[in-house]
């Protein structure tokens, strides 16, 4: 393990993801020297490593923010020490966005960390499906294109993209301004859900999570009226692949949707749970009479879009019924 005096800025920041920490460690000259010394056998000449994962030659399709309990890697435990155990795959954790779709970030958190630690960092909390808002700043998370979020040097790439012209053209600030009331309500719903989830017993948490995920899957299905709204064409959703069935896209959509769309789904979940009044919903939806501001209208919208999806959702809600969430079903 590296001596603490050798790299005081190598300490793990609270809430930091493993991939981000692996990237930061690689910025330390001593770590690079160690890697260069140990990479002699590869015969690739002198080079700089982007991340410890690059050195470890990780398998594809594995989650770089969590480690398997039976990890047998060489470099990570040596350099990171006992802190690495904190990243063992969590049990009973809220649904996470898979590594391949990871791309949300909070600009303010990144900026604050840059000021305090002089390094770029990504938080693990930005990967929760039901948390499209930053828990520190109550701001809607921003999204980057998929290839940027999946890079080994994602903290740097995301920072670069955040200051690019493409990012500015998306008009995130404009969207947040236009839908301020809706987002404020959705943020309240997120906080209430987090609070309620923490009160659940370990054995009941999966019911809670599955209920929320079933609702999100139905509400975020592409092509639905609930999903399409003003400004949604600029939200950088990951496009479904060609030939994908409705059920597959329905399953994947909560992970692929942008933070703004997930926030909108949370808003409608709030209506279904009775946490958002009709008056408040009407105001949040900018007084549009065609929008679904009541549970009946939301159910009607799902039914109208696809009857099978509607019945699947009903069955799922009955199957994962929990006393913590009482959903209005007409």
């Amino acid at each position: 393990m590296l001596k603490s005096g050798l790299c005081s800025n190598a300490k793990m920041i609270a809430g930091e993801s493993l991939s981000s920490w692996s990237y930061r460690l690689c910025q330390i000259p001593e770590v690079q020297q160690y890697l260069l010394h140990n990479a002699g056998g590869y015969g690739r000449g002198p080079r700089l490593f982007l991340s410890l994962f690059e050195f470890e030659k990780r398998e594809a399709h594995c989650d770089l923010d969590f480690i398997s309990p039976d990890y047998k890697w060489k470099v990570l435990p040596l350099i990171m020490g006992p802190d690495l155990e904190r990243f063992v795959k969590p049990v009973n954790d809220a649904p996470m966005i898979p590594w391949g779709f990871r791309r949300s970030y909070c600009e303010d958190c990144m900026r604050e960390n840059l000021r305090s630690n002089c390094s770029l960092m990504l938080k693990i909390a930005w990967r929760y499906v039901s948390k499209p808002f930053c828990e520190v700043h109550d701001m809607l998370l921003k999204d980057v294109p998929r290839q940027i979020g999946g890079a080994l040097d994602a903290p740097r790439a995301i920072f670069k993209w955040n200051h690019s012209i493409e990012s500015k053209n998306l008009g995130h600030a404009e969207y947040v301004n236009n839908w301020a009331d809706l987002l404020k309500t959705a943020c309240r719903v997120q906080k209430k859900l987090v609070k309620l989830r923490n009160l659940q017993h370990d054995s009941c948490i999966y019911l809670f999570d599955n209920t929320i995920m079933s609702l999100m899957r139905a509400l975020l299905t592409p092509g639905m009226d609930l999903y399409r709204h003003s400004g949604s064409n600029r939200l950088l959703d990951i496009v479904s692949s060609e030939g994908e069935t409705l059920y597959l896209s329905c399953y994947l959509q909560p992970f692929r949707a942008s933070a703004a769309c997930r926030a909108r789904a949370l808003f409608f979940i709030g209506i279904l749970l009775g946490w958002v009044s009709q008056k408040e919903a009407f105001k949040s939806l900018r007084g549009d009479p065609w929008e679904s501001d009541t549970p009946e209208k939301i159910w009607g919208s799902v039914y109208k879009f696809d009857k099978e999806l509607y019945y699947w959702l009903r069955n799922s809600l009955i199957r994962f019924q929990t006393s913590a969430l009482s959903i209005y079903t007409s």
């Binding site: 700089l48 840059l114 000021r115 040097d153 740097r156």
Partner: protein, 272 residues
């Protein structure tokens, strides 16, 4: 203290395991003033630190980087078969370089990054090492770095005169250029000697002092900083091995040290 612990202490000193920070006293004040002016005028400043080889330029740069902490960064040279330009190396020192891009001008996110971090000073030692082509690109890169964000103070050293002249020519009227000429005075040597003694005593937990004749001897000398520190190391290692409380060295011993014969002799003695 037994002989093995004496040997281990002497090795510590000979291997330079103590920390001695040295800088020309007026240098940090000059830079602080320049940083203040840069913030007011929002324009880059380039400072060329000149001096004879071995007069302590690199040691001064190290000290300045440590003194300014997060406000300063040192651009290290990364071996790349001439592929990495000065701007690439600068991006590496900021930990924001992508391996998939070669920078020819400072990108927008670099400005933002520097503004957030609060960087004010960039230190480049031996600028000529970063030359990748024979045109003016190195000098232009240097100017580009000085103009990043709201303007930075770039402190550099080079012993390659044509390069320094080229930079002066390019920067004419664009950014300010200062030349600071450095030379080691006897007072500086005394200062270094006492700092060395404190650092070495701290590392080896001894209380060795200079003898009067040694101090007189130091004041009369004029030599390179690295050679001077080497003499001190050898003399200190000898004093440790002989269990002396006073550090003495005569003229003849010093001459031997400069030639390296005594140094080799001590190392051989320690290794056996």
């Amino acid at each position: 203290m037994n002989s093995s612990s004496r040997i281990s202490k002497a090795i510590k000193v000979l291997q330079g395991q103590y920390k001695i920070e040295y800088s020309f006293p007026e240098l940090t004040n000059t830079i602080e003033e320049l940083i203040r002016n840069t913030n007011i005028t929002a324009k880059g400043v380039v400072v060329h630190l000149e001096g004879e080889p071995g007069c302590g330029l690199s040691a001064s740069l190290e000290h300045v980087v440590n003194k300014f902490g997060v406000e300063a960064t040192k651009v290290n040279y990364n071996f790349s078969f001439g592929k990495l330009s000065l701007l690439d190396n600068f991006a590496i020192s900021l930990a924001i370089r992508s391996p998939y891009e070669h920078l020819k001008k400072a990108p927008l996110y670099m400005d933002q990054y520097i503004n957030e971090v609060g960087l004010k000073l960039v230190v480049i030692d031996d600028l000529e090492r970063f030359e990748v082509t024979h045109d003016n690109s190195l000098a232009e890169c240097l100017v580009a770095i000085s103009e990043v964000a709201n303007g930075l103070v770039v402190l550099y050293t080079t012993h390659y005169r044509p390069l320094a002249r080229k930079i002066e020519k390019i920067m004419k009227g664009r950014v300010n250029l200062f030349r600071v000429r450095m030379s080691l005075e006897s007072a500086d040597l005394c200062n270094i000697a006492f700092k060395f003694l404190n650092a070495a005593n701290g590392e080896t937990r001894q209380s060795i002092r200079f003898s009067e004749c040694a101090l007189e001897h130091i004041e009369q000398q004029a030599c390179r900083l690295d050679e001077f520190v080497k003499i001190l190391e050898v003399a200190y290692a000898y004093a440790t091995l002989r269990n002396d409380s006073l550090l003495t060295f005569s003229g003849t011993e010093e001459e031997f040290s400069i030639q390296g014969s005594q140094y080799v002799e001590v190392r051989a003695m320690l290794e056996c």
